[in-house]
């Protein structure tokens, strides 16, 4: 017990966790010294394509099996198909540093959205090794206030309107961060080991058709709750393992379209790129994935004439969307619930896909052990570099990640 009467929280190495770093733990407010976060990570995802629910315990097993890939400075989960009773409203899930921040956000949102229902998100600090302080977590089910002055002034469609509001809150309101804003989904993340974050949110109480999860091994950052993955905007969420060497280019590109990069991480720009390319520009997933991890010109020259034309146009038009450097990402999207897995074009970060023998469930993880830990009866494969794996609820495996790049697109 320390002088304040708190129980010692000791990590695997016997270090008292709240001593391991600065006394100050960054929850929502951005760490002062932070300019950029980087690091490597473990990623895991599971989807049931038959509409059945996957329990939170399964994803917890997957991500904690790869505990070697994390160092206790960030982990998170995202669950899709979580709120069958609130499928039409945007679920805005917030982390707050204090009650003032909560009040400020609620006051701000009054002009923007109609909150249909709001609730405290269950959290527990029992039996976890995360040092305090802890954030307040609250979610709001909301719809744009169509008759408001704001809505008229912004002149945006619903999705863009919500994006705009989230960007403003995250940039302007100190001590508050909107971690997810999609329909029928929510993000549970924080600074700590994956199993502790799982306990903090008690994700075992939730189940959904798709789960993605992430555990971080950051190299430079203090534990910052808001900065953990998955990073989400609308119903997009991204778990990212890698470090993008073209960050400066990608960041400037998404900023040009009004996205505000508040999280200081390359993973955030990837999330916005998916939103921009697929939702706003209407690109098919395969084409968006190709823009981010394009094939070499030498390979493009060997394609058929239509594919070559498409590939060249994509590389030319979306050259700023090209994610250079090592990455493997898991991307989630709702309606229909879709999992996309993509690795960089040199495949410098690992990614394995697993298919349950009865074709009901699919898994993607950094390491095969994570898949085998939850389902031994799976066949696994490694997708090709820069080749997206797409799994859709209701449709099953759309792409294995082994096909030619534009199959079904041209």
């Amino acid at each position: 017990m320390d002088h304040r009467g708190r129980y010692d929280r000791v990590d695997d190495m016997g270090i008292r966790s709240h001593m391991a770093f600065d006394e100050r733990r960054y929850v929502v407010e951005i760490p002062h010294s932070m300019k950029y976060q980087m690091g490597s990570c473990g990623i895991a995802g599971a989807i049931n394509v038959n509409g059945e629910k996957i329990p939170g315990s399964m994803i917890e097993t997957m991500i904690t099996t790869m505990a070697e890939r994390e160092n206790g400075l960030g982990a998170g989960f995202v669950c899709y198909g979580l709120f069958p009773d609130h499928t039409d409203e945007y679920c805005l899930q917030f982390l707050f540093d204090d009650d003032d921040a909560r009040r400020e956000v609620e006051e701000f949102m009054k002009d923007w959205v109609e909150v249909e229902w709001d609730e405290k998100v269950y959290t527990s600090t029992n039996f976890i090794r995360i040092a305090p302080p802890f954030p307040l977590v609250r979610r709001y089910f909301a719809l744009p206030k169509r008759k408001s002055v704001q809505f008229w002034m912004q002149g945006l469609d619903d999705d863009d309107y919500i994006v705009r509001m989230v960007m403003l809150i995250n940039a302007k309101i100190k001590g508050a961060f909107c971690v997810s804003s999609g329909k029928n989904m929510a993000v549970f993340k924080g600074s700590g080991y994956a199993r502790d974050i799982a306990k903090f949110y008690d994700i075992f109480r939730y189940s959904g058709e798709m789960w993605l999860s992430h555990s971080r091994f950051p190299t430079n950052s203090p534990g910052w709750w808001a900065g953990a993955h998955p990073i989400s905007i609308l119903d997009w969420s991204v778990c990212h393992n890698g470090e993008i060497t073209s960050y400066g280019v990608n960041k400037k590109y998404v900023e040009m379209f009004g996205y505000n990069c508040a999280l200081l991480t390359d993973s955030e720009t990837i999330t916005y790129l998916w939103d921009l390319l697929v939702r706003r520009h209407g690109l098919p997933v395969e084409a968006a994935a190709f823009s981010m991890a394009p094939q070499y010109y030498s390979e493009i020259e060997r394609m058929g004439s239509q594919e070559r034309e498409l590939a060249t146009r994509l590389r030319m038009t979306y050259k700023e969307a090209f994610l250079n450097g090592p990455f493997s990402i898991l991307v989630g999207r709702g309606d229909p619930i879709t999992m996309i897995a993509l690795a960089d074009r040199k495949k410098l970060r690992p990614m394995v896909v697993g298919r349950a023998d009865d074709d009901s469930e699919f898994y993607v993880a950094s390491e095969e052990c994570a898949i085998k830990a939850v389902n031994k009866d799976t066949s696994t494969w490694t997708p090709k570099a820069g080749n997206p794996v797409v799994i859709k609820a209701g449709e099953g495996l759309v792409r294995t990640g082994l096909e030619p790049p534009f199959q079904g697109v041209v």
Partner: protein, 501 residues
């Protein structure tokens, strides 16, 4: 009335080595040497072009800088006094050539590049692909869709594919010789890059290179005919040049030979001074009209760009130019080269290209135009390191001219305006122009730029980047190490020691 100026350079001839072949005397186009009393004697007038030094079969000649003879004075330094005396002699505007020799702060040397360590792997261009293909022209920003699919039949603006992010700058036939231009064009062809035609049209012998030539439409409109416009890969309206912002082309009568007189359709021996502005462009909307006219006359088959000198308000001007319809924009910096320019403007007007690139890139990004236009930049790019830093600051394509001429033999003696270049480059005299073998010159320029491109691949590979487009404007991978952190702020580069982001 003329007051003689003390010599700056002096050839020293080693009498023991000299075999009296008199080659140096024949080769010196400045008439600085003579043969008398059975030995080579110096007449005066050496400009240190090193032709005699290079050509001497026994290496008997060395050119030495004469020790300063003016009384030391920190304010009225030698250069100032020389200018005053020369100007008092002639009563005219002092002409000079090449890029400025004033010591403006060279910001490239204050920038350091990043490299990959541990958290991401560096890429080895010897074993893995590192791509340098670059496009020049307008991009649409997004692809048109039809029935939920990308419409690959839709028309796209014309765009040029180049094998490296580099183009040879505009050097006109007139400012340089026929052989020089031929060598530059054939090097561009061999490298699959673009070379600028300069002001003065395209000689009919060079029509074979038209796929690699960017034709210039300058204020003099020399050689601009419908025929010319149809024989090029791209068209560039030249508003200004980094070495002389606000001035037009400047071709001294000494260089207007028979060949040039035909090409430019002006009398032999007359000065060809292009108007300072385009007299049909007094405003941005006039520029828009000229761009439209050129696009119409080229049937929308080639990109039409605009070249401007880097001046203080370059960001806003560039954005106006893009809005006026330019498919690519070329910014030419303070240290850019020239075949002839008034010294006063060369040395005192403009903006260093490093700052210009960063401000234009930033401005175009803020206005949401950056992903629609190609930004070319030149003016003081001396090496692949400069090229890489210019790209990281925001240029898509780097424009190089002086380095290409140096590869051919130029020693940057700054006498191009005299038209008696001993290397056969910046001259129109037949006896001099034949000194340059276009085939050898082509090979040397090709060698140089191939090597630069190889170095580019090496460096971006070390940064963990495997394609040059991921370097364009990636200022995160640059750090400033110079004395003035305000410059770092303006060009959006962090100081060395600051982390990513």
């Amino acid at each position: 009335m003329d007051v003689n100026l003390p010599e700056k350079y002096r050839p020293i001839i080693d009498a023991e080595r000299c075999i009296k072949c008199r080659k140096c005397i024949r080769e010196c186009s400045f008439g600085a040497l003579r043969f008398e009393d059975d030995r080579v004697k110096y007449n005066g007038g050496c400009v240190s072009c090193l032709r005699c030094v290079t050509i001497c079969p026994t290496q008997a000649i060395a050119v030495r800088e004469v020790d300063p003879q003016f009384t030391p004075h920190p304010v009225f330094d030698e250069k100032v006094r020389r200018s005053i005396i020369a100007q008092a002699n002639s009563g005219g505007v002092l002409l000079t050539s090449c890029g400025t020799d004033k010591e403006y702060m060279d910001i490239f040397s204050h920038l350091l590049l990043d490299a990959a360590q541990v958290t991401n792997p560096s890429i080895d261009p010897l074993r893995e692909p590192v791509e340098t293909r670059t496009y020049l022209g307008r991009r649409t920003g997004r692809l048109p869709m039809r029935d939920g699919k990308i419409d690959i039949e839709a028309d796209m603006p014309p765009i040029i594919s180049m094998d490296m992010p580099l183009m040879i700058g505009h050097i006109s036939l007139g400012s340089v010789s026929y052989n020089t231009q031929k060598a530059l064009f054939s090097a561009a062809k061999d490298l699959n890059i673009i070379a600028g035609s300069g002001e003065g049209g395209l000689h009919k012998d060079f029509y074979g290179f038209s796929d690699w030539v960017c034709s210039e439409v300058a204020s003099g409109r020399f050689g601009v005919t419908a025929d010319y416009l149809k024989r090029v890969s791209s068209v560039e309206i030249k508003i200004g040049q980094g070495a002389k912002p606000g001035h037009g082309g400047h071709l001294p009568g000494e260089k207007v030979s028979e060949l040039i007189s035909e090409a430019r359709m002006i009398p032999k021996g007359t000065d060809a001074l292009s108007p300072y502005p385009h007299h049909d462009i007094y405003s941005i909307e006039d520029l828009q009209q000229l761009i439209s006219v050129l696009k119409e006359s080229t049937e929308y088959k080639v990109p039409v760009g605009v070249k401007i000198a880097a001046v203080h308000n370059v960001g806003a001007i560039a954005s106006g130019v893009v809005r006026a319809g330019a498919d690519f924009i070329t910014v030419d910096g303070l240290r850019g080269g020239t075949g002839s320019a008034p010294r006063i403007i060369r040395d005192h007007a403009g903006m260093p290209i490093e700052i210009a690139i960063a401000t234009v890139d930033q401005r175009l990004q803020e206005e949401g135009l950056r992903n629609k236009v190609t930004l070319c930049a030149g003016g003081g790019i001396r090496s692949s390191a400069d090229m890489i830093k210019a790209i990281a600051l925001g240029a898509d394509v780097v424009m190089v001219y002086t380095a290409a001429l140096v590869a051919m033999g130029c020693k940057v003696c700054q006498q191009c305006h005299q038209g008696i270049c001993a290397w056969g480059i910046a001259t129109q005299r037949d006896e001099l122009t034949k000194r340059l073998d276009p085939d050898i010159a082509t090979q040397r320029v090709t060698n140089l730029f191939r090597a630069w491109n190889e170095e580019l691949r090496e460096v971006i590979g070390a940064m963990g980047i495997d394609s040059v487009e991921s370097l364009v404007g990636n200022r995160d991978r640059l750090r400033y190490i110079g004395p003035n952190h305000r410059i770092a702020e303006i060009i959006g580069v962090k100081h060395s020691g600051e982390g990513w982001g």
